[in-house]
């Protein structure tokens, strides 16, 4: 299985390197079509939003206050003339702290789970069990244990992000090419040398896949986490706009959360493209 994969990669790569100009033009066209379709789909979402708030809803009704026609200008106004950028920075900082802890815990655990069948057999039911508990359900306990502030949020985010990283890393170890391990054995590598020179670089692509999944989960869990016990961040800001009855600002924040999440996912994808082996 792996044998065939690698052989075909070697055979295909030089051919791919000499793709003709016509082939490149075709690839370019396909990309343009995809881009146009994608932008069209996004535009449709905005049109539906507008129909819901400005066409179907009655003038002056509650729903009409969430119109894109007020939300979009409100977003620009907030970004330029309020402390919203500071809240964004706060939220992003929490995401990266959570991701950092999740990597510190998830990668070594994933390496162990992927390397030793005993560890995998002993941990996989427990991990599946813990993984299926919504991180948010730990919130009251986290606040009691860690107090109010950033600490319980870091805990919840780490808890949410660790699973995809752990499971992807373990899958990466199991998918390692056995011939690489044979090579390191034939060079009398110590276990640590095999770990650092073959296993870690060999699973990097899988770890990055895990990071991408983790960022998606982190971003979803972050906002509700920030709705309790903190006074900064996008989750806090949403509740704040509600309390001020500033509905166009609330909708603007929702829009911004979507935009930032999209940007984070694109960032994770380009990291994968740059660093994944063989790419």
């Amino acid at each position: 299985m792996t044998h065939q994969q690698t052989t075909s990669t070697v055979a295909v790569a030089p051919a791919a390197a000499v793709v003709s100009a016509a082939g490149r033009a075709a690839v370019g066209r396909a990309f343009a079509v995809r881009l146009a379709l994608g932008l069209g789909g996004l535009a449709l979402v905005f049109v539906l939003w507008w129909i819901g708030t400005d066409v179907l809803a009655q003038k002056g009704s509650f729903l009409a206050r969430f119109s894109p026609l007020t939300a979009v200008p409100a977003l620009f106004d907030l970004l330029l003339h309020s402390d919203l950028p500071l809240h964004v920075v706060m939220s992003l900082q929490r995401i990266f702290v959570g991701l950092g802890f999740a990597l510190l815990i998830g990668v070594p655990l994933g390496l162990a789970v992927g390397s030793f069948q005993v560890v995998e057999a002993a941990t996989s039911p427990a991990f599946q069990f813990l993984r299926m508990i919504s991180p948010l359900s730990w919130m009251p306990i986290a606040v009691m244990v860690f107090g109010v502030g950033d600490k319980p949020i870091y805990f919840l985010l780490t808890f949410a992000a660790v699973w995809p990283i752990l499971l992807s890393t373990a899958a990466g170890v199991r998918a390692l090419d056995p011939r690489w391990l044979q090579l390191s054995r034939s060079l009398a590598a110590t276990p640590l040398e095999t770990l650092w020179r073959v296993v870690v670089p060999g699973v990097l692509g899988h770890v990055l896949t895990g990071v991408r999944l983790a960022i998606g989960i982190l971003w979803i869990v972050l906002v509700p986490c920030e709705m309790l016990g903190v006074s900064a961040g996008l989750g806090y800001f949403i509740l704040d706009t509600r309390d001020r009855l500033a509905y166009s600002e609330l909708m603007a924040t929702v829009l911004l959360i979507g935009i930032l999440g999209f940007a984070l996912d694109s960032l994770a994808r380009s990291l994968y493209r740059i660093w994944a082996p063989g790419g």
């Binding site: 690489w180 034939s186 670089p201 063989g278």
Partner: protein
């Protein structure tokens, strides 16, 4: 004579744990410095298993392997193994792949300059100096196999163990690699055990051909060739030898098949 051999195997028996039958029984080999011995035999006979034992990657069930007169315990720094697949690491450039392992703890300690010199020499020897910064995905099958050979040469081996190294290559590339191997052996003076199932390859490259057959496998024939290299013109001598080897191989297969039918009778 015996003390002159660089690698020596005596009475090798190999039985994989849990297997009903041995793979090897009573195999002997004395490899002289600079000698190229080809081990020829049908698929599944146990050639790769034998090579792994000779390389210290697999402990024999009984029997001994000696390198420079000392018993082999695990892999030896002066014995380099190359497999059918180049097994290059895709995240390293060609030169990093060739250097891979030179700085490992159990390899002889080398200064950075010595390591660089060895890598440069090895890459030049296989004719890949122009591609040293490329990644494996950009290399052709033949170039990748050259790189794998360079990775072995960078260790300045006394013994090269090659397990069907050209098996996956097309005819033309294969012929180029055979020429390259002759040059490497002449340039470096390394001894080599080459495994193949291709009689012509064995005839073109070896000082000695050992035919492996039977189950469990043992030596069923041996020919010493004193023809000079390259042997492109020695058609007549090689033709006669070729038929002799083929006949021995056919007889061995026939005996083995009749054994099998008895077993099921």
């Amino acid at each position: 004579m015996e003390s002159a051999s660089v690698l020596q195997a005596r009475g090798l028996v190999l039985r994989y744990p849990g297997a009903a039958k041995s793979v090897l029984s009573g195999f002997d080999l004395a490899l002289a410095p600079g000698e190229v011995v080809t081990i020829l035999g049908p698929s599944g006979v146990g050639k790769s298993s034998l090579l792994r034992v000779l390389g210290g990657l697999q402990a024999p069930t009984s029997g001994t392997v000696q390198m420079d007169g000392a018993p082999l315990r695990g892999v030896h720094p002066r014995v380099a193994v190359a497999f059918q697949d180049p097994s290059l690491l895709p995240w390293l450039t060609l030169e990093k792949n060739v250097a891979f392992g030179l700085d490992f703890k159990h390899q002889p300690a080398l200064s950075r300059a010595e390591r660089e010199a060895r890598v440069n020499d090895a890459i030049a020897e296989v004719g890949l100096s122009h591609a040293r910064r490329q990644h494996p995905a950009a290399l052709s099958g033949g170039m990748a196999q050259r790189a794998a050979l360079a990775r072995c040469l960078a260790r300045r081996p006394k013994v090269l163990l090659l397990d069907e190294p050209f098996g996956a290559l097309d005819e033309v590339t294969r012929a180029e690699m055979q020429t390259l191997l002759l040059k490497v052996v002449a340039d470096t003076g390394t001894a080599a055990v080459l495994i193949t199932h291709d009689i012509d390859e064995a005839l073109l490259l070896s000082d000695r051909i050992v035919l492996l057959g039977g189950a469990p496998a043992r030596q069923i024939g041996q020919w010493t060739l004193s023809l000079p290299f390259p042997r492109d013109d020695a058609v007549e001598e090689l033709g006669t030898l070729r038929i002799e080897i083929l006949t021995t191989l056919r007889n061995a297969v026939r005996r083995q098949n009749s054994d099998v039918s008895h077993a099921y009778a």
